[in-house]
Symmetry: C2
Subunit: 885 residues, 2 copies
């Protein structure tokens, strides 16, 4: 049993995990002499103890708090409940990882019927004092005592209407006094208990409420989305209140030491005069830019920003309050930022000598690069914005307008693209935001809930768009110019400019900024894993090369078969009644494949290109049986000729003959090649001839790698290797040119991984097909799992993440490790890569680095992500090595 409670000045050296993010910031700021109101931290261990204790605050915690309150009282000369010099505090949550707005905070704790009068006397501002008391009652009533928030809102609304004012702070003292009485009555009515007049009782209950809020549904939801452990718990900060709402010389604000949207080095922020912090975060009033603050305060803020960056060596997002002209800092943390800003800040800070290259590389989240690599509005397109709001989170999103969160979730699940339109968002809306392509709000600023959350997710958002008027009842909004947009209408929002447009707007490819190129160059110098692309077309190959791919790790050939001009020929081949007919169809496909490969090899000259031979089962190229049955009956109903019907029946019979119970693990990949070798012969011929022709025409060609899918037995590979080598010799003889090529296999069946040592003797390379390997290892058919049970599995915590997105390290990963190790032991020249979707997912890339793979291969747009993630894995390993050595 340790110690639970520390004054800020006592806690230097404790970590973020003990103090929570907010507490850590307060302690650090205190230690460097910034003006922080004094207070204490209850460490996260107390929260964990609370839950272990069955939801009761441990006695020791309360005793320590009482003792520290004594010290605090002595220091500031104020006492809890003292009618002369009352101690008034805030009780705030503060988890190790920032969860903005997810957990609870209660301000103005310590006020009661007597103290409010004393406060009024002391400040000479009765309106302020009663407003503070009203706020306490409202927050305490809702958060601690569980009264529905709208009960209080209704009262406030009624009084504002009665007095003819718009904002809470315009209410008269008399109104506030009446409101206080009504609030107390509401609490009594709703809970059967009086609002506690004892300030110590208030503190006790507030502490418990903060602990409890760690497990409120929206906090759990948030942690699941951001993959934050449920076991961390929250710290509690009890801090002397300072008031931003004592009058025009007071106010509250948020500052960023650099622009969180662009990364530009300038003090950036917003300020709301005569307000408490909650007013800013809730986005109810639109704040002023920070430059509009009192010049002396602005000077102090700029100094503070410098100090913070020097101390924390990162861009900071800080909260401040000005009480009667005096600046106080209430919070600091590493600022959330767009991907573009993250890259610029990281690179700039290296140049400024603040951080090392390795630190810079670790500062940018690889998945965030996604934002930089997607499309933006085509500048040549005619754009007619119907409204403009704040450019809160960059990127372009198009979708149907929806107003209700539940509807966004439903449509999102059904695969529809939607834009969630709300006056403002609250933490309860998180599910809808996740489901939507983008968010549009009519209220709130750059630090409102909607803005912070969407930036974090890399989702486009336009916020504070006051030009539109939303009618939730009618499910529509109207722009300033009178355009009516109804539920279901398609709009496009551009989170980089703040524009809202009707319909879908053309977009163009992103370009890489100079900073991003620099960062990725640094990444390339540090990573060990190679990065190749999954690309099936010449365009994709070129794009991949542009993004820095070092080759093609997976060129699928079935997509080529599926092209509309080829499908009829492929069907001809499948339906062939005789061997000759089949060969004739293959002969028609051959020149098409040849051309495909030539273009790809040309685009990738000098780099390796791994072509995977046909994988899909033949029946996938035929129409589904049920469609055919329906068609046949429809033909009968409309009296089609027997000949027509017989033709259709022929197709149906073939489809039925080819049909499989479980096509995923059926007659496909190399199994098809064993029974029908002619398709692979055609493909190998096309591949090698293409490479030779490019070599002749251009003087250089790609490094050809031929890859077999679905291998389970070394002997399968032996047979196909023979087929490939025979065909190669034919091509070499015909062309009079020999080119080197490699022959290898996907490792995508558990048996292939389990017998990798045998298989490695017949293969020059392995490439893990982690999509299929995940399906077979877990026995989860992906198509069925994602539709039927993956969601409940995530909700019940059986899965931490979708295993088709993030590699299952314990199961699939164990096979990957085994096969890599044993394959390389059996064949030291074996090259090992991975070409499943996990190849572009940072967490999985870290695993592949650890497991000793040679390269990852991913979609072209994920190449920069993979380059950075691979560098981070290498840096992390270096750090671990230097720690353990």
């Amino acid at each position: 049993m340790g110690r639970y409670v520390y004054l800020f000045e006592e806690a230097v050296g404790l970590t973020r995990f003990e103090l929570g993010g907010k507490g850590y910031g307060l302690v650090e700021m205190t230690s460097v002499g910034l003006p922080v109101p004094p207070g204490m931290v209850i460490v996260t261990e107390a929260c964990r103890e609370y839950y272990r204790n069955g939801g009761r605050v441990p006695q020791q915690v309360l005793e320590e708090v009482r003792q520290k309150l004594e010290q605090l009282s002595a220091k500031v000369g104020r006492r809890l409940g003292d009618p002369e010099r009352p101690l008034i505090v805030s009780v705030r949550s503060g988890a190790p990882y920032s969860m903005p707005g997810m957990m609870d905070t209660i301000l103005n704790v310590g006020l009661n019927d007597r103290v409010v009068e004393a406060l009024a006397e002391r400040t000479g501002n009765r309106r302020f004092a009663y407003d503070a008391y009203r706020r306490l009652l409202q927050m305490f009533g809702r958060i601690v005592m569980g009264v529905p928030g709208e009960k209080f809102e209704e009262v406030l609304k009624r009084y504002k209407e009665r007095e003819g004012v718009k904002y809470d702070h315009e209410l008269s003292v008399d109104a506030l006094r009446s409101i206080v009485e009504e609030f107390k009555r509401i609490i009594k009515e709703h809970t059967g208990k009086e609002f506690p007049q004892d300030p110590w009782k208030q503190i006790e209950m507030a502490i418990e409420a903060v602990f409890r809020s760690w497990n409120n549904p929206r906090a759990i939801e948030y942690r699941r989305y951001y993959k934050i452990s449920d076991d961390l718990g929250t710290a509690v900060n009890i801090q002397l209140m300072v008031f931003g709402n004592t009058g025009p010389n007071s106010g509250t604000g948020v500052g960023f030491t650099r622009d969180p949207s662009t990364g530009e080095k300038r003090l950036y922020g917003e300020y709301l005069p005569n307000a408490q912090g909650e007013d800013v975060v809730a986005g109810i009033r639109t704040p002023l830019p920070i430059e509009k603050v009192d010049p002396e305060i602005y000077r102090q803020l700029k100094e503070t920003a410098e100090k913070l960056e020097r101390h924390f060596r990162d861009m900071q997002d800080f909260e401040f309050t000005v009480e009667d002209g005096k600046l106080y800092l209430l919070q600091t943390r590493n600022g959330k930022r767009t991907a573009q800003a993250a890259v610029k800040i990281a690179v700039d800070m290296v140049r400024e000598g603040l951080i090392t290259v390795e630190e810079a590389l670790m500062r940018v989240s690889p998945s965030d690069l996604n934002q930089l690599l997607h499309r933006r509005l085509d500048p040549r397109a005619k754009v007619n914005p119907i409204a403009k709001g704040l450019n809160a989170s960059p990127g372009v999103a198009t979708g149907k307008v929806v107003f209700r969160v539940e509807e966004a979730v439903e449509l999102g699940k059904a695969g529809e693209k939607v834009i969630l339109v709300r006056p403002e968002t609250t933490p309860d809306d998180i599910k809808g935001i996740i489901a939507a392509q983008g968010v549009l709000t009519s209220r709130g600023g750059m630090t409102s809930h909607a803005a912070v959350v969407t930036r974090g997710m890399g989702k486009p958002a336009v916020v504070g768009c006051e030009e539109i008027t939303i009618d939730l009842e009618k499910e529509q909004f109207v722009t300033a110019s009178g355009v009516v947009v109804r539920k279901g209408d398609v709009i496009t929002i551009d989170g980089s400019t703040g524009y809202v447009m009707l319909g879908e707007v053309p977009t163009i490819e992103p370009e890489m900024t100079e900073e991003l190129k620099t960062l990725l160059k640094w990444a390339d110098e540090r990573r060990r894993l190679g990065v190749r692309a999954n690309a099936d077309t010449p365009e994709a190959a070129r794009k991949a090369r542009e993004f820095g791919a070092e080759g093609i790790g997976l060129c699928r050939t079935e997509r080529m078969f599926n092209a509309p001009d080829r499908l009829p020929i492929v069907r001809e081949m499948i339906m062939a009644a005789t061997e000759e007919e089949r060969r004739a169809a293959l002969e028609k496909l051959y020149p098409m494949q040849l051309q495909d490969f030539k273009e790809i090899f040309r685009a990738m000259k000098g780099l390796p290109v791994t072509v995977r031979l046909l994988d899909l089962p033949l029946h996938e190229f035929l129409p589904p049986a049920e469609e055919l049955i329906k068609e046949i009956y429809e033909m009968r109903l409309r009296g089609a000729s027997e000949r027509e019907i017989e033709e259709k029946l022929r197709v149906l019979r073939k489809v039925e003959a080819l049909r499989e119970h479980n096509p995923m693990i059926g007659h496909r990949g190399c199994r098809l090649a064993i029974t029908n070798p002619e398709i692979y012969r055609m493909q190998v011929r096309a591949i090698l001839r293409a490479a030779i022709e490019v070599l002749r025409e251009d003087g250089e060609t790609a490094e050809v790698q031929i890859m077999v899918p679905q291998t389970a037995f070394a002997k399968e590979l032996e047979i196909i290797r023979k087929l490939v080598e025979e065909t190669a010799e034919e091509v070499f003889a015909e062309t009079g040119t020999r080119i080197p090529f490699k022959f290898g296999t996907m490792i995508e069946t558990p048996r292939a991984a389990l017998t990798a040592a045998e298989i490695a003797k017949v293969a020059d390379f392995f490439s893990f097909g982690t999509n299929d390997l995940t399906q077979t290892t877990l026995a989860f058919s992906r198509d069925d799992a994602e539709f039927k049970f993956l969601q409940p599995y995530l909700e019940k915590g059986i899965l931490k993440e979708n295993p088709f997105e993030v590699l299952d390290r314990e199961g699939v990963g164990r096979l990957v490790r085994m096969a890599t190790q044993e394959g390389k032991a059996a064949n030291p020249r074996l090259e090992v890569g991975i070409c499943g979707e996990h190849g572009g997912e940072p967490n999985s890339i870290a695993f592949f680095h650890e497991a000793g793979l040679d390269y990852v291969s991913c979609s072209p747009y994920r190449i920069p992500i993979a380059r950075l993630a691979a560098a981070q894995a290498a840096i992390r390993e270096k750090v671990e090595v230097s720690v353990t050595v």
Copy 2:
């Protein structure tokens, strides 16, 4: 380069692998003083060298043969080609494992135009000499020189008709002399080469022909069926000819030291006077029982039998020839026998002190027990045999009559049961015999090809049924009483009695003989693996217990759901629109399941019963979508009411909603329980209540084990364990009775095996579901694989056996080993079994023993097989340990 050729007396100490089975027998018999005609063995290494040498007989082999022939000549006083005292030899194949009739043998080598005259002079029997020459020409022409056999047969047939005789040996000398000339002409015409008159040339060519015959298609087919390695090669035996066809005082025969059908200890065999060995094996003439031989020879044969058994310590099958009243032994080998005989001989020999109990246990092939454990004719059934033949291979078989081998293969593949009916069978028919349920021949004896081969396979056969006349043209046979049986008619044959009956005849359960019980008792004393049964019904449970099952290792519950009286209720549950409707349907199923479990627990009192909770996906209980679509259209076509159609559409929509792309790896097993826990709750309630009710009613109940299917994550099991324990507490509270039970899981997904250490912490037991584990590990959907590509995989040697029958040790087996080891390390009290089909397959059982499992579970009829196989595994291990220690 070693030595290749040994005289019989020089080769003592060499093994069966070097000498081949026949050579080994001759060498051993020579060494114990039995009357073996002198000769030599060319060891199997020469055959391997022949193939390595590109199909040329190595020069050294020929030199050694020539040198040994010199020694042989000196010893017997005869020389090759000598017109006075010619040396005449047989050149016989002899592989390490017996492959009866599969490879080639040439008799009478050394005869030519001059020597035949000398032989006629010396024996004073011109008919015999020319018959021998005719036989040499015929065999040499066909086997060595490749002339089609029917060319010679036609000539023989013509001469027999011309002379009005039935058998070859009735032909006149003049006819034989003409035949010899015609045969020489046929050879010349067909091959363009003269029959070689040089006896040494004959020997050279005959040796090569024997080597070549190792790789003839029917030998390869046979080795594949019996899993004999292609790399062994054959030895060649060159031996002084003795003649069984010199006259009435000569003859040839086959003896068994015990009855190969029943195991009874008596000399058993057949004798054909005035014939060469090939006449017996080919089954052309029906031989006499061995008792009919000359009494002095009979006495010598009985002595020989005693000597052979004392020397070889096993039942022997020997060939002998009597030449002019003198007995010669030409071959001995361990005799093939029925399973019943194998058991009796093994047990008797222990009692006679000839062998140890361990040897006895190793002498019986577990798979052969199958023969003893299947049904036989119901003695109460009215049986009207239409014919009777020899009871060549026991057991009853029913099927459609087919006459052509190709048709048997085709129908067999299509799953039809057929009886192959042939005048006699030849090694070329092996595929048809494999495909058929049983074989009926009109010619041949107990040692004919059909008899030997079917006994080896444990397939019923009636042979030598001379009462029927087969017309291959018309595809029918006619019995003595005039019954005509046509292709496609169903008949039943009883290989234990020799009866042939029309139609299907009722059969009854087998009983275990006293010897089998003894053998299995010995097995039980020596095995380490437990043996449990897969049984879903009370009848199966009782049968399993009778056969010695020590519990039920797998009681599937989906079969109970599939019963015709329950399916409508199950559908009700699935189609339920509301939660209440669903619960109501489950409530109806509950008493039915309760009753099922009560009966099973009662049958297994005192023993463990592992009940597997529902595994199948729900949609398997609904009609297929295509059927519904067809029905709906048919309803429209016949003008059904909209209400009826809507009802059907509702079902279709539900079916489509439940449908999966890959149901094998879809929403099933515990995945279904996670999303729909109410089904498991009902089942657990029924299981525990049933056990408690049996306990109350009978004072004793089964040991309940509850098993979860399809687990992939420890967390799944945690959640279901909680559900089970909660339900159990409810049942215990309701009944006021607590019973102990175990909770465990199938290991049937690769991930479960890979994370066994985690899973073992939540489980009391594991049971490997090797059927599904094979599907997922190999990524082979069984339904699709067996239909689409397993056969080509076996033919191309990718698979040595069907992995769904014999466990894939390298892939699936590796997972089994890992999971057993790691599971037990994590939970030392973990019980580990296997309940896939491999649990009843001897080779796989040996593996499970080695892998350290605690028990196997298999179908009731395979329980004795498993008991024996488990004992053999334990004995083998002991031997290996004693060898390595």
